[in-house]
Symmetry: C2
Subunit: 453 residues, 2 copies
């Protein structure tokens, strides 16, 4: 007969103990010396370590005595394959950057191999920086979805839609048809959500928007789109449609909780109220907006209105990294500067944006984004023992204002460990880096301008 204390022991797959745990729900809470219990890829319990030792018997125990345990970060807007363009063209206005550098490079180089190699580099970077889920928009979503499947990460993969022809499709009908075929292929995948991704109001026509609205409502599928990124987008919309893009999208029935509207640097008070009323999510990309001088997203006003605000890095072509720690810090700092009030957008609110709010923007609010029992175990550990993050009065402040991406030690997605003590377990890092360097050599040779001196 087993001893009495063993009688009550419940089985688990994994227990992670940490110096601090930040469950994100409720916002701002920090638990000392707790244990997260995982079974079948889900969070079974979160309780004081001493109690966990009495109550659960796990196959694996991971102790992280100088770390914070928190939900994995969610990058709500990126274009993963563009990591292969990182640093290729900087310090340029959006139209020059796109028209003279990015679009020509895409026309010449983007194919399935480029997309696979770029997405793999991006996912390696995100994994090492504590991002467990991302919302992607690019050509060849089939290739991206296969790469996500192999990586162990979670993603919303965009079914991109444009009117103009590219290497992926010739017109909006073909984009939609091919996107839906990818959706069929990955239906029921536990870590991949296919998301409609009409590129922007200025590149997609009303008829296409109507189709997307019908399909999104019918299939209960999210929509991921650039909206109100720059002042010139609004000026163009006035010329072509005699209205602001948000008004046009509202008339087309697209302003619903299914929409994640990215950038949103140009907003009136009425539009902010409209977004709150319609339940639209805003994806804020502070570093991209700054680098391209696109304008300031009014984050403090959106937050005050109750709009769900998520965070994104944008592609590494414009950012130039996929670092959600950097993005959290930039978000908190910039919001205060823009609002001229140091008390707005505090650290805990920013951490919610990078986790729980991102999950909601991706339509995954009931599955990930916080450490509530029943949610999937997408979690990370961050080592705060570095000089730059000592001493620790408040781990939430430390994560947002002082932590660097390399302090992420461990990553699990749906309970499966993908990073252990800073080492990738699935990704073949040397091979991924070698393929990235091969692309650089090819692109640089073609540009004939690798020599700096």
């Amino acid at each position: 007969m087993p001893p009495p204390e063993t009688c009550a022991m419940q089985p688990a797959d994994l227990i992670i103990t940490a110096r601090w745990t930040i469950p994100v729900e409720p916002e701002g809470r920090v638990l000392d010396d707790h244990a997260l219990v995982v079974r079948d890829g889900r969070i079974l319990d979160l309780l004081p370590r001493a109690e966990a030792e009495q109550r659960y018997s796990a196959r694996e125990l991971v102790r992280r005595p100088q770390h914070v345990l928190l939900p994995g970060l969610i990058n709500a807007h990126t274009h993963t394959p563009m990591t292969l363009f990182r640093g290729m063209a900087d310090d340029l206005p959006l139209d020059t950057w796109l028209g003279q550098h990015i679009w020509p490079a895409e026309a010449r180089w983007v194919d399935a191999g480029f997309v696979r190699d770029g997405a793999e580099l991006a996912m390696l970077e995100m994994l090492q920086g504590g991002t467990t889920c991302f919302n992607d928009m690019y050509y060849f979503p089939d290739v991206i979805a296969r790469a996500v499947d192999a990586s162990g990460l979670r993603a919303g993969v965009g079914m991109i839609v444009l009117e103009h022809p590219t290497v992926w499709a010739q017109d909006a009908d073909e984009y939609l048809r091919k996107g839906l075929a990818v959706r069929d292929q990955f239906r029921g995948h536990p870590r991949i959500s296919m998301v409609f991704a009409p590129h922007a109001p200025y590149t997609v026509a009303d008829d296409s928007f109507r189709q997307i609205r019908l399909l999104a409502n019918e299939l209960d599928t999210q929509i991921h789109m650039h909206v109100h990124e720059t002042a010139s987008e609004l000026a163009e919309s006035h010329k072509q449609h005699a209205r602001r893009p948000l008004q046009r999208l509202d008339e087309l029935g697209l302003l619903t909780p299914l929409l994640a509207a990215v950038h949103m640097t140009q907003l009136t008070a009425e539009e902010i109220a409209l977004l709150a009323g319609r339940g639209v999510s805003v994806v804020h990309c502070p570093e991209s907006n700054l680098k391209l001088a696109s304008g300031f997203c009014p984050v403090a006003d959106l937050a005050a209105a109750g709009v769900n605000i998520a965070l994104g890095t944008d592609g590494a072509g414009s950012n130039n990294d996929l670092d959600m720690f950097g993005e959290m810090r930039s978000c908190a700092l910039l919001a205060k500067g823009v609002a001229q009030r140091a008390e707005v957008v505090p650290a805990a609110a920013v951490l919610s944006m990078a986790t729980r709010n991102g999950a909601q923007a991706l339509g995954l609010g009931d599955r990930i984004g916080s450490l509530l029992p029943g949610k999937e175990a997408d979690v990370i550990c961050v080592d705060l023992s570095a000089a730059a993050t000592q001493p620790v009065y408040d781990p939430v402040s430390q994560l947002v204002y002082a932590t660097s991406r390399n302090q992420v030690s461990d990553v699990w997605v749906a309970g499966r460990q993908l990073l252990a003590d800073r080492q990738p377990l699935l990704a073949d890092a040397p091979a991924i880096l070698a393929r990235a360097e091969a692309w650089r050599a090819r692109l640089s040779a073609a540009r004939g301008s690798n020599a700096h001196d």
Copy 2:
């Protein structure tokens, strides 16, 4: 008889070879596969690796095949002991932060031991992040100077001056007298420059400024001061002096090339022209200004006017780290957002601010800040092999827009290695971190609010 190629070999102490070298002078230059030759703590030569192998015979050879070699970063404004307040009070306006948190904490806790332990923690963080020189302002400059001496780093140590009494001195005369005594103690120190540090126009009286001007001119010594940090500082100056602080300082004869004016968020076009004409250096602290909602320094306009712009982190109490990579990125991004032009303040200009311009602001422009032969060998290596900094089209872009502080692998100051393959050689990191944690425990216990839950 030695073989002919050995006849011409010159002796050296150290040769560092790197995949890329960025000498900073001339701005924007990147050298492939070069070697830096060091003798007697100074840069003897910078030349292609193959030529260096023919020409120099060194006692030590350091090969860094996936790294950038560049001048050490210069943090032109900080308050090192305040690292012990990191994250103690965030998301508060400047007056609340100072009046209700920082000043009471300083009154209760700051003594020589606090200053030593805080400065050592700050220097460990800066060393690990590639900062080789910093410009400090705090109480107990004698303690700070001793800590700098022991650390191997280089610093401008502020002779702080205020009118009101603190633990360090009772009135401006005593501050000055004690500061000058520290200066005598460290006269001729190869790595320590004592700098006048009147705190700000609103805390220092005209008579004290006149004395400081006389002494600074006589002793050819720099002046380090907060100026035009917030709009309320200007409003207060209008009430008390019926003029803006810069006008008052100009009338007092303080606007000269000896002055490093920190923050400068409130500037008219006329003032920018005045600063350029007088040769004043501006120290820009983008993250501190954002976090405290102090306003935006017009960096693009200052640069266009030819003003020397250096970069600083401010103290970790307000930033919350001493990360010059983060500060470079924030500077480049914010300048574009504020100017609404993506082409302003490009990466190479920002790297100059963090190196050469900082040296000029500290009065060390002829000794450090670039890799010109004859300058002291304050240099760092940065490893770009991480996924987040691959591929590399342009190492300058990579350093400013994508590199994290932890990628600094090696640091030398005056030719002496202080960090080797990420390990501190002089600093006793475990002891420094233990003392920081002891201070946190003491402060938290006194505040009675360590429990979050």
